[in-house]
């Protein structure tokens, strides 16, 4: 056995994903000696920029910056450490009949665009936005708070429950009902309450299924629509955008911020086990056998990976282990990163329309999306997949050589386990071909422009990034796994059954996306437990 490292750290963070780094930054700023251990030889987790082919840069997991909390960007001084967000406008859905629906920032342009499909929908859109923004305003303050334990009688939990109740109560009777309904409805049903046009509904429901093992008809999918609006309110205006240099720029800036605060990151240091003595986390053991000691361990891995792989079961209550086993982390998304010789043409999009610089889609009915989900339920990748496709190199010159382009294609749905046996390279290629064919139906020159395509299945993402089943949210965002249920009832406050061991990843409240809130909340919990003040 290798000798233990010389130094005992205050905190070890397992995993240099964005939440791990956020947590590390806050703790380092509070004066703690923080070491972040990353198993890969590069940092970033799922927020990375990678050069895998010639001079192209791939944001090869997450691909847009939308939810990163502005208070985190401010406190950790991310712009100073090089983070540049380039907002993009619009987006569109191309239709099988050659038509399209585009979104534009300008309200009048948008109204006229929507009214090409339905005059009424063009106006109902305002009501739709209003209702979504009302819900955003309701939920936003909850993101950076620790959820209360509803079974507890501790003053803090009671106060927090009271706060939640008061917030709900304050919106008035009718809006309370609206809120209850919004949080429990399916996206399809919700959109039916506003729109009549199939293409309008299809376009908006897209954001309800990204990364989830739900279809647009599944109850509970409506609230995921919030994600497209969360960036549009109050101080977060303009939050939707590309990180210049790819998503790795986010984690690079975090690492810079961490270093400036005295913390450090060690790459190629995969953690094998959390060291536990006398029921308390004392450090970690690396795969190499090296032991590193720390008073506190924060795991940025998802809850399953943390407790089913890195903590010996004898340290955990049986109920807790069962609950972790039952936590739903489902692989449902794939990703293609494509290097292109030029910008593909999309005949459905009118020449000069700026929507080509936004998110482009090819699913033009909710039924088509729902059928894509049915394929997933049967253990197949979608025959007609939903894609969220962007070409950031149009406005970010660092992503591809001049005149060439990088296209990021997020694919819903793609299962982690196939019904007909394990993933093979041939199946991966077939999956990629399905996606490329689907896009090519809207772009005659697309295939001829492809120089290289990286095809990533949930299985690949799990193996490379370490996310269980390749789930981008470290756990489904369903009612049974939100707020005080996330990840495990009774352990929703970033603490775990092992003293000194905390969780900071998206498995915890408020969940996924490159938001940073779980990391910030976890750091605050650690600091409070150590009797240190809040650094925000």
């Amino acid at each position: 056995m290798a000798a233990a490292s010389q130094r005992r750290h205050d905190v070890i963070v397992i995993g240099a994903g964005h939440n791990g780094l956020v947590a590390a930054c806050y703790m380092a700023r509070a004066g703690l000696d923080v070491l972040v251990l990353e198993r890969n030889d590069y940092i970033g987790g799922a927020a990375v920029s990678r050069k895998l082919y010639e001079d192209f840069t791939y944001s090869n997991c997450s691909y847009v910056c939308s939810l990163l909390r502005p208070e985190i960007m401010r406190t950790l001084e991310l712009p100073r450490f090089g983070l540049q967000i380039i907002p993009y406008e619009g987006g569109c859905t191309m239709m099988r009949d050659g038509g399209h629906l585009a979104l534009y920032d300008n309200h009048d342009a948008l109204r006229r665009e929507l009214s090409r499909h339905s005059k009424r929908d063009a106006e109902a859109y305002d009501r739709f936005s209003r209702d979504i923004i009302r819900q955003c305003k309701f939920i936003k303050p909850l993101l950076m708070r620790e959820p209360p334990d509803p079974t507890s009688f501790k003053p803090r939990d009671l106060m927090e429950l009271l706060y939640l109740g008061q917030r709900l109560y304050n919106v008035g009777e009718q809006r309370m009902y609206d809120t209850i309904r919004f949080w429990t409805m399916s996206a399809a049903d919700f959109l039916d309450e506003y729109f009549e046009s199939e293409i309008v509904k299809a376009h908006f429901s897209g954001s309800s299924i990204i990364g989830t093992a739900l279809g647009p008809r599944s109850p509970g999918s409506a609230y995921v629509l919030l994600h497209h609006y969360m960036g549009d309110i109050d101080e977060t205006v303009g939050a939707w955008g590309f990180a210049r240099g790819g998503m790795g720029a986010v984690t690079a800036a975090l690492a810079g911020s961490l270093q400036a605060s005295g913390g450090s990151v060690r790459t190629a240091a995969p953690v094998e086990q959390v060291l536990i003595r006398n029921g308390r986390a004392r450090g970690v053991v690396l795969a190499s056998g090296e032991e590193i000691e720390a008073n506190t361990v924060v795991s940025n891995m998802d809850v399953k990976r943390t407790f089913l792989k890195a903590v010996a079961p004898e340290h955990l209550p049986e109920d807790f282990l069962t609950a972790v086993g039952r936590f739903k982390i489902r692989g449902s998304s794939g990703k293609l990163n494509i290097a292109l010789d030029g910008l593909p043409t999309f005949p459905a999009i009118p020449a000069g329309a700026p929507c080509i610089r936004g998110d482009m889609h090819i699913t033009d009915t909710i039924a088509m999306m729902e059928r894509a989900y049915d394929d997933w339920k049967e253990g197949r990748w979608s025959a007609a997949p939903y894609v969220d496709m962007l070409v950031p190199s149009q406005i970010d010159p660092t992503m591809a050589p001049d005149g060439k382009h990088y296209m990021s294609v997020f694919v819903q749905y793609c299962p982690y386990e196939l019904a007909d046996g394990p993933w093979t390279d041939a199946k991966r290629q077939a999956f990629g071909a399905t996606v490329i064919d689907a896009i090519a139906r809207q772009s005659p020159d697309f295939k001829s422009l492809i120089r290289h395509a990286e095809i990533r299945t949930p299985w690949d993402i799990e193996n490379e990034v370490g996310l269980t089943e390749g789930n981008i949210f470290q756990g489904e965002l369903t009612m049974d796994q939100l707020l005080f249920n996330r990840p495990v009832p009774g352990y929703a406050q970033y603490r775990t059954p092992v003293r000194g061991l905390y969780l900071s990843g998206s498995s915890t409240h408020p969940g996924g996306g490159v938001m940073g809130a779980p990391g910030a909340n976890a750091a605050r919990r650690v600091l409070a437990d150590l009797g240190r003040g809040d650094t925000r």
Partner: protein, 402 residues
Amino acid sequence: MNTARPVAPHFRKPLLETPFHDRARELQQNDHFVAWAGYSTVDVFTTVEQEYFAVRNATTLYDLTPMVKYRIAGPDAERYLNRLVTRDVRKLKVGRVSYVVWCNDSGHIIDDGTIFRLGPQDFRVCTAERQLDWFSDSAIGFDVAIEEVTGDIAALAVQGPTSCFVLKRFGLEGIERLRPFELGEFTVGGWPIMASRTGFTGDLGYELWMRPADAVSVWDELMAAGRTRGIRPIGSQALNMARIEAGFLLPNVDFVSAEHTVRINRDRTPLELGLGWLVDFDKPHFTGRRALLLQREQGLKRLLVGLDVAGNKPAHNALLYAEEAGRREVGSVTSAMWSPTCKRNIALAIIDAPYHAVGTTVWADIYLNRELVWERRMAAARVVGRPFFAPERRRATPPADR
């Protein structure tokens, strides 16, 4: 059918142009256009003062085309509208116009507008904002067709003390017999024109409704007919001054549509806006009626009133206090101006009970930017009735001949 000429696609040029756009572009001197309901319109042609005084002393042309217009027709049209708006549409005779508001279930105003009764079951409704969503849902269970006709009708407001004379000379024979809120059909030079004695200036004035194809010719002929009466086009800023003097409310300035409010307690009922006279509790059910009845029983927590502010510094956006020391906040100003006609410093304001009673004095916290130095004035403001200015000529039929 559409007035819009072939233009760049909407993603390059989101705003439409009205049929009067070429004339407006020729005559405006400041390149001062603003967006109004999806159209590009002139904010100021020459100077606000000249345009304002033309409203009160001469004749003005104001391009009303962007005003959203709906045709509402069908066997249930009257019943439908009567359930939609707070006034009794049954009392509106064919050939007349009515100013109305409509509310949501909680009695909060969605928008205001005018209803033109063109036939027993044929109406035109002009609104400030697009209403198809609400109008369509209100039509559930009614046999009625709702069609937006904004682009099919060009509209021009002809307002000012000499407007009747100008229109007569233009060729609207018998226009002088039109009473306030009455409409008439005319033909001039082969152009069918509907004229209504309506407007947003509180002065003598008319609104002309015509085919888009005729719009430029009508404009030119009107300008010619009004040459000896000081006719001039005006922009939205001058109109805004006139409407404040007249005590008229402007959506998104004096109130926010209940269909748009995101925050709590930003909605306003007609009772709170001092529009109780528009609410007819004796007519059959209309949306919001039960909520408004309850509010009437419980009393108003706030009211929109007129203010006569001391001094001559407009109380733009001023917070209002109960006492000069500025401790107890009791409301805020929604519109304010120095009235050139009344020579009074006037304002519209929302004030909490009981401070909204006529005669009460509140204090307006006015901020003045004087060569980049901000100064603060606490000005006494007396609650007064509206309108601030309502000349006899507004109602006289026939109006003065010159």
